[in-house]
Symmetry: D2
C-alpha cells in the first residue's frame, strides 16, 4: 500500500515536541532563584523536593522541573506525542527495544507516560495527555492567544527550545532516535572514518529538539545543557548583561554557532548544570526531504560562526561531574 502513510515515520513523526526536562540540583533554592529572578520563568507548582517552571509562552503545566538532589544532572526528559494512537505505536516499538521501563502514572502536569532509557542511559518519557497551563490573576496575559503574561523580569525566557545530551556513543544514540522514535537528523559532526561526534535531531519544523554530542570523558548518560529561547539576539545579549549583574558564571558567548546558526549564551546555573539562552532566529525546517548537513573535522577547526574558538570546558564539562573531574 505505497499510498499509505507509514505510521510514525518522518515526515509524520509521532513525537510532537520536546515537552519538559527534570534538572537535579544540590542547591534547589539558589537554582530556583536563578530560574525565576534572573531568567524570568514562571512557577506553576511546588512540592517538597521539586518546583515546576515554564516560560511565558510554554503552553503546558511545566517545561522545567527542578528537583533537589545530591548532585546536578538530568533527572529525565520527555516528549509529547501527537495523538493517543501515536503513543501506542511508539510504545509497541519501544517495548521491543529492550530499553523500556513501563508506564508512569502519577507525574504532575501530564497523563500516563511511557518511560525508557536511551542507549546511553538517559531517562526519557513519552506521553500524550497533558495539562494545559491555566493563568492565574498574576500571570494572565492581555492577549488571549498567549499562554501567560510576559513577565518583565530578568531575561524573560519565552519557551523551552532544546536539550543537549552527552553520549559515549553518538552513533548508537542517533540510530535509536531515528529508528525507535522516528526523529529526523538535520545536522551532524562526522570526523574522518565515520566517527560521529555530534548529531542534531528534530520531530517537527524546528531545526532541532535534541542535540547529542560526544562525551570526551567517555562517561555515559550525562547532561550537557538545556536551552530556552528568546525572540531576538538583542535579548540574548541582555541576558548576558543580566547574568553579569547577578554574578552568574558565564562559560562562553554570546556568539553564533556555525552549526544550526544558533545565537547562544552558556552559563552555569547555581546547581552546576550548564544552561543556554538562545535565539534560534527564524530557523524553521520546512523541507520534508531535508538532507542532513554534515560537518567534518577541518570545518570544526574554524570554531564558531564568527571565529570564536570553542572553550575547552564545552567538550568536557557535563553533569553529573565525573570523578576525574572532581579530583
Amino acid at each position: 500500500m505505497s499510498e499509505e502513510v507509514e505510521p510514525g515515520a518522518w515526515p509524520y513523526c509521532d513525537l510532537a515536541h520536546l515537552a519538559h526536562l527534570e534538572l537535579l540540583t544540590p542547591k534547589l533554592d539558589e537554582s530556583l532563584r536563578f530560574f525565576t529572578e534572573v531568567m524570568g520563568l514562571w512557577v506553576s507548582e511546588s512540592t517538597a523536593n521539586s518546583v515546576y517552571l515554564r516560560g511565558w509562552d510554554d503552553y503546558e503545566h511545566h517545561t522545567l522541573k527542578l528537583t533537589a538532589a545530591p548532585k546536578p544532572g538530568l533527572g529525565h526528559f520527555a516528549f509529547r506525542v501527537r495523538s493517543p494512537e501515536a503513543l501506542k505505536r511508539r510504545v509497541r516499538v519501544l517495548e521491543q527495544s529492550g530499553l523500556g521501563q513501563g508506564w508512569v502514572e502519577d507525574e504532575r502536569g501530564h497523563g500516563p507516560a511511557y518511560r525508557f532509557t536511551t542507549p546511553d542511559g538517559h531517562l526519557m518519557e513519552l506521553y500524550y495527555e497533558t495539562t494545559w497551563y491555566t493563568p492565574t490573576e498574576a500571570s494572565r496575559p492581555a492577549l488571549k492567544n498567549q499562554a501567560s503574561r510576559f513577565p518583565g523580569k530578568g531575561a524573560n525566557l519565552r519557551r523551552l527550545d532544546h536539550i543537549n545530551l552527552l553520549a559515549s556513543d553518538v552513533r548508537a544514540m542517533r540510530l535509536f532516535m531515528e529508528g525507535y522514535l522516528g526523529m529526523k537528523v538535520t545536522e551532524q559532526i562526522v570526523f574522518s572514518g565515520g566517527d560521529e561526534q555530534g548529531v542534531w535531531l528534530t520531530s517537527n519544523n524546528k531545526t532541532y529538539d535534541v542535540a547529542i554530542t560526544k562525551d570526551h570523558l567517555g562517561a555515559k548518560g550525562r547532561f550537557h545543557h538545556c536551552t530556552y529561547a528568546v525572540d531576538s539576539r538583542e535579548e540574548v545579549l541582555r541576558a548576558a548583561d543580566i547574568c553579569l549583574e547577578h554574578g552568574v558564571k558565564i562559560e562562553t558567548g554570546p556568539h553564533k554557532h556555525a552549526i544550526q546558526q544558533t545565537f547562544f549564551l552558556y552559563v552555569y546555573e547555581p546547581g552546576g548544570n550548564r544552561f543556554e539562552v538562545a535565539c534560534p532566529g527564524a530557523r524553521l525546517l520546512l523541507a520534508p526531504d531535508w538532507r542532513p548537513i554534515v560537518w567534518n573535522e577541518e570545518e570544526r577547526k574554524k570554531g564558531q560562526a564568527w571565529g570564536l574558538q570553542t572553550v575547552p570546558t564545552f567538550h568536557t564539562y557535563g553533569t553529573p561531574p565525573v570523578e576525574t573531574q572532581e579530583a
Copy 2:
C-alpha cells in the same frame, strides 16, 4: 484500526508548507526593482514575462514569481506536500471536490503540480518534486547550512511566510482548507450569529501559512497580501525606514497585530499589490491539539495589539481592484 494514522489528517497534514505564489503586475520592471533593490530578494531566473525570486533562506528555486499582466493580483499560489504518496492522496480527494483542473507539468522550479481552485476562485497548486536552489558564485553563503548568502541589500527579506486571501465566503474557504487539504485552524474572527470574518490556517508548526479574510466589497477570489519574514522587529522597523527612503507607499504600520501577534508593515508594491514585511517572532504551534482562538466583534473593536485602529483600506483594498473602486 484506531491505531492507524488517518492519512493526511491533522496532526499529520499532507501539506508541508506554503511554497510560492505568482503575483501579477502591470509594472513588471518597477515591481522587480522593488523586490530586489528595496526588499533584497534574490533573482533565480527570468523569462520573457516573468521573474522568479526568493528570500536568502528560501530553499526552493523560487517563492515569488512576478508576471507581467494588465492588472495586479494573484496568478496562483502553491503548497509543497510531504511526499509522493501525500500528493496522490490529496489529488484523489480534490478530484472529488469538483474544483480540480488537472496536472500542470511544465512550470519552472518544481515537478508536476495538481491545479485546482478554492471555493472562492483562487488558483492553487500542490506538488512534491521540487528544484532545490543552487547558489551561484555571487549568492553562495559562508555557512553551508544556509540556502544562500545574506544579501546585505535593502530589507534583506529572509523567507516567504504566508499569504492572505480575500474571500466572499470565509466559512466556505475554511471548510475547504480543513476538509480537502487537511489544514488546521489556529485563529478565527467570528462575529455574532457565527458570521465568519477571518480565519488563519496552518499545515505545520508555523501558526499560519494562509489567512483568509472577508472581502468587504463582496468580490470573489481576490488577493489581500503576501508576507515575507525577517528575524527581528527591528528589521521590520528598518524596512519601514527603507520604504520611506524609496518613496514606497506605506499603508499602515509598523505595529503589532492582536491576532497571531505578528509585527507588521504593510506597503503597496509598484504594481499595486499589498505586500507585508513581518516578524512572526518565535510563534510556533507545537501543541498537536491546539484549539482555535476565536475573536469576536467587540474584541476586534479594540484595534491592533497596542490600540492602533485598523485603516479602512485594509478591509476594502485588494487586487485586482473592483470596478466600484476604480470609479
Copy 3:
C-alpha cells in the same frame, strides 16, 4: 576681544543637561508602582509626600520626583549647569528677566538652586552642586563605569531624556530659552506667517533636552510629557508589550516622529500625566554651527515619519487638565 569666549553663549552653553523634574500625581501609590514595577526605575529616597526615582544610568540622586497633589501636572523641572561660575552668570541674567524667584536651599539631591518661571509660567530651577547617586547593595552594578545595576524589571528605562512643555506662546518661550539660558534651537515647526507651533532646544550634544509645543487649548504653563530613553527601538516595542500586559493606557505608538526622528511610545501614567518611552537612537548634535530644521504646515500634514496621523489628543491633552476638558 573677539578671541574671548562669550560667557555662557552657544556653543559654550552654561547649562549642562536636563537634570530632573517633579511630577504631581493625585495617585502617588499607583504612579509609583507604574514607574518602578512597569517602567523599571530605581527608588533613591522617599518622604511623606514625595518619592525620588532615577533610571539605572542616571548619575544623580534622582531624575524624577513624584509628589502627591490634587491634580496631575508639572511641579518644577531643573537643569544642572556646568560650573559654579556658570550658575552665577545665569543668575545675573535671570535676575534681570523679571521672572526670578530666588534661591531654594533645602531640596534633596542637590545644592542651592535658583528658581524662576518661564514666560509661560512653568517653574524651573538651575543648580550646580549635586549629590551623585551611591549604589546600595541591591543596586550596585557589576561594571564600575555604570551608575547602578540594570534592573531587569519592566521596561528597564535607562535615563531621563527630555521634557516637553505646552505653551500659550511658543515664540516667547524660544526667545527666553535662547536669550536667558543660552540654549540652541535644533528643530522648529513654523506655520505660514511665522506662527511658531513648536521648538526643540538643547544645551549640549543631544539634539534636544526641551521641546515646547503649542497648547491648542490656549492654557498657560502646562505639561505635555517627559521622556526616558532606552537603548534600542526593540526595547520601546517591548515597553509597549509590557504596558499592554499591565493595562496601561497607550495613547499612540510605537512609531517614529519625523521631527528629531525619535522612536516613541506615549502612555498615560496612573496619575494622568503623559509619559514617553523613547529611543533617540544615535541622535547626536556634533556640529557647533547647526542650523535649525524648520517644518512648515504642509510638511506636518504628512503625519509622523511612516505616515501615522497624529492622534487629536496629542494636541489638546496636557496636565493639569483645563476646565473645558473636565466638563
Copy 4:
C-alpha cells in the same frame, strides 16, 4: 575674575568633535569596495590617489579619506573646533608646544587646518570652516533632518565614532590631549606604580572621541583602529554576518568591552588596517564634573565585560606593521 570662562578649558572644550581621519592602504580598490559594498559608506568625492567617504548620518563632506600608499596606517586625523576664536586659541597654545607644523590650506572638504603632531608622532589637524555634505539625487534623504539617505547596503554604518591610537608613552599623550587640546579623560587603565596603559578622552558629551593604548611593540605613532557607529547591537551582529559572507577577516567579537561598555566587532579591512563597527548604545557623558574611571591590572585580567579574554593580536597588531612583525 573667577566668574569668567577659562577659554577652551573643560567643560567648554574648544574641540567640537572628531571630524575625520585619513587611512593609508596598499590596496585602495579593495579597501574602497570594503567600505562601500560591505560597510555601506557613501562616496563624496574621488581623486587620483584618494577617495572621500562618510556614513549616512555624517554631516560633513567626509569622515574617512582613503589614500593609496605602500603600507597601511594613519595618514592624519582631524578635529573640528567650535568657533573661529576657538581655533585661534588652540593654535596659540600649540605653537608653544614645539609640535606645530603650520597651516594647511588646500585640503578638500574643509577650510584652513592647523597641523601638528602628537608627542608620539601621529599627524593631527584642527579646523573650523567646513563643507557641509550636500545630498545628490541618489543620496537625498526622505527626512530633511538627516544628512543623507539610509543606504540599505551592507552594514549601513551611521557615523564616525572614535579613533584609537597606539602610543609608546600613553601618559605623555594624555598630558598633551588634556593640556594643549583641553580634552577630558573619562576612563583609564593604570597598572601598579602609575603605569598608564590606556586612556579614553572626549571633547564633548560622547564618552570618548579618542582612545590611546600602549603599543606593546614599543613603536611610535602607530594606528590601532577607527570606529563607525550603528544604532543597535543587533546591527553590529549583522555586520559580523555580513563580514562572514564577504570573507572579511574578523579579529574578535562581537562582544562587549568592560571599558566604556562599547559593543564591538573588530575586523581587518583589505589594506590591513584594523576597523571597528560598534554600538556605543546611549553612552552620554552629561556630568560636567565626571571623574575618570580607573581600571587596574587585576580588573583587566577579567577580560571583556562577559568574560571573553582579549586576543593577543589586540595588544600587538597595529599599522604600519613594525619590522619585527613582518619578519
